[in-house]
């Protein structure tokens, strides 16, 4: 632990990126007897991309589900854009969520809708609905960005797992949110597609200064897309730092991840 930057110290001071947009303080979450997060602290600044790593079943998905309000924390505070997620009204939460993209680990495409309808869904849920022509254009553009423009009229059940994953990413990005939470965006993809997705994530970050939290086991993704990496363990942010810092660590629990 000597060379680790622990969670007590504020993150990303060296980054000239901007004010914090996600602040997680003393977050607790348990399911019955099972404690998943015990005292989790994390700050993500504007324009930063934070990679979350850790063993399977350690609570990474639980963490980002708490951030977007799908799970109710058992303690601690969670602020997104300065608003306390567990205290705001339903309507404000819905508005806030339009500004946050969430890529599900399981893709979570709507089975009863075609790919086009899946992508149109978030667009149609906005206060000001786009015109029909714009709708078409946006859907096409986002499909092209994930390289699946010819699946537009298929049903989700006709796609492979990796294709579904990419549609899930396209759907989360279609509203051009300021924050994107990716749950294992490249898992199950071949190296070439995976590279394309990494490029997509990085482009987005550079073009629109998106803030992102990326859960991944993919070292390549962590290396290329991260400003910071947080390593989750025993319910806390066990270790934080840049990719270069974590690669050099001698901690026996973290080291295997970067070999």
């Amino acid at each position: 632990m000597e060379n680790a930057i622990t969670s007590e110290k504020p993150v990303a001071q060296d980054d000239k990126k901007g004010e914090p947009v996600i602040i997680v303080e003393h977050l607790k979450k348990n399911f019955g007897e099972k404690v998943v997060l015990s005292d989790f602290n994390l700050i993500v600044n504007k324009g930063e991309s934070m990679v979350v790593m850790g063993r399977s079943g350690i609570g990474k998905t639980v963490l980002i589900k708490c951030i977007i309000g799908l799970l109710k924390p058992d303690g601690g505070t969670l602020k997104v854009f300065g608003k306390d997620i567990s205290k705001i009204t339903r309507r404000d939460l819905d508005l806030l969520r339009l500004n946050i993209g969430f890529v599900f680990q399981s893709s979570a495409l709507y089975d009863s809708m075609t790919i086009r309808q899946n992508l149109e869904f978030p667009l149609r849920r906005q206060k000001i609905k786009p015109m029909k022509g714009d709708l078409n254009k946006l859907v096409r553009e986002s499909l092209i960005s994930v390289g699946l423009e010819n699946t537009i009229d298929l049903m989700p059940s006709e796609l492979s797992g990796g294709m579904r994953k990419r549609i899930g990413i396209a759907r989360s990005l279609i509203l051009k949110p300021e924050i994107v939470l990716y749950d294992e965006p490249t898992t199950g993809l071949d190296p070439i597609t995976s590279k394309e997705i990494i490029n997509l994530i990085m482009d987005l970050q550079h073009q629109s200064n998106t803030t992102s939290i990326i859960i991944t086991h993919d070292v390549e993704l962590a290396k290329q897309a991260s400003n910071h990496i947080v390593f989750v363990m025993d319910g806390i942010a066990y270790m934080q730092g840049t990719y270069e810092e974590l690669v050099k660590t001698e901690d026996p629990k973290v080291k295997p991840f970067f070999e």
Binding site: L70, R97, A108, Y110
Partner: protein, 265 residues
């Protein structure tokens, strides 16, 4: 002795707990759906889509059942009525029994099976595959979008399906009377409508709305509380049919009692 008591207690809580849990869930869902349905934004498009799906899928089955029901009713009761010299009461008897009781009840029971299980399975599988969560993060209130619309659709469509079943059942009754003796179409239906009064039609029409609400509510509640992956979806669909059918029968009893007390008999 203590052990026995404990076992008894465990048995009681095992059988009663699910009942109370499910009753509490239904009450909470019922209240919430009423509350959310009256506040904008309204999901008209989705409600219409659901009405269409419910209607299109159920009209053939409900119609066919209604027709056979009317036919059988007449075929079974005709000999007895004729024996007592009351053959001319046949149209009146069939209209009152079909419109007041048999038509709505049988339609609601069929819908409890067909529509209730469908809703529950659909919402349940959306729940376990995180599609409901995905809606939620798109800034959509899934309760409004999925639950309130389906309950509304059931409340609109089940009365219509009941009327449709009643009509076909009366046609069946006409066919039944026509098999043995020939009876004029106009004459038969004149007698049918002569026998009907507002006090017969009104309670049974109100009843169908309540049936619709109950079927939609049970289907949605059971689906929404599905757990344990795909296995749980099957279980909740099954439960929803049982609970919906029971509620239909209980509602039927209660409404009949109340309308009796109000003098609608």
């Amino acid at each position: 002795m203590i052990k026995q008591n404990k076992a008894k207690k465990a048995f009681l809580s095992e059988t009663l707990d699910p009942f109370f849990v499910s009753a509490a869930q239904l009450a909470q869902f019922g209240w919430r759906s009423i509350r959310e349905a009256v506040y904008p934004p309204f999901e008209f498009q989705e409600t219409f889509r659901q009405c269409y799906l419910i209607g299109v899928n159920s009209f053939p089955l409900v119609g066919f059942t209604g027709l056979i029901l009317g036919l059988v009713l007449v075929l079974q009761s005709q000999p007895t009525l004729v024996e007592f010299g009351a053959g001319s009461y046949l149209p009146a008897m069939s209209s009152i029994s079909i419109i007041r009781e048999v038509g709505p009840l049988v339609t609601a029971l069929i819908c409890a099976g067909k529509i209730g299980s469908g809703i529950s399975a659909e919402i349940g599988s959306m729940k376990v595959t995180e599609q409901i969560d995905a809606m939620e993060v798109s800034g959509t209130n899934p309760f409004k979008f999925l639950v309130a619309t389906r309950i509304m659709a059931c409340m609109l469509m089940i009365p219509i399906l009941c009327i449709y079943a009643d009509m076909l059942a009366l046609m069946g009754a006409f066919l039944g009377t026509n098999i043995t003796g020939t009876i004029n179409f106009n004459f038969f239906f004149n007698r049918v409508f002569e026998a009907l009064h507002f006090t017969d039609v009104f309670p049974s029409f109100i009843k169908t709305f309540i049936f619709g609400f109950a079927i939609g509510l049970v289907g949605c509640t059971k689906g929404y509380h599905s757990q344990n992956g795909t296995e749980g979806v099957g279980m909740s669909a099954n439960e929803s049919v049982v609970v919906a059918m029971l509620s239909v029968i209980v509602i039927d009893l209660v409404v009949t009692q109340i309308s009796g007390m109000l003098g609608y008999i």
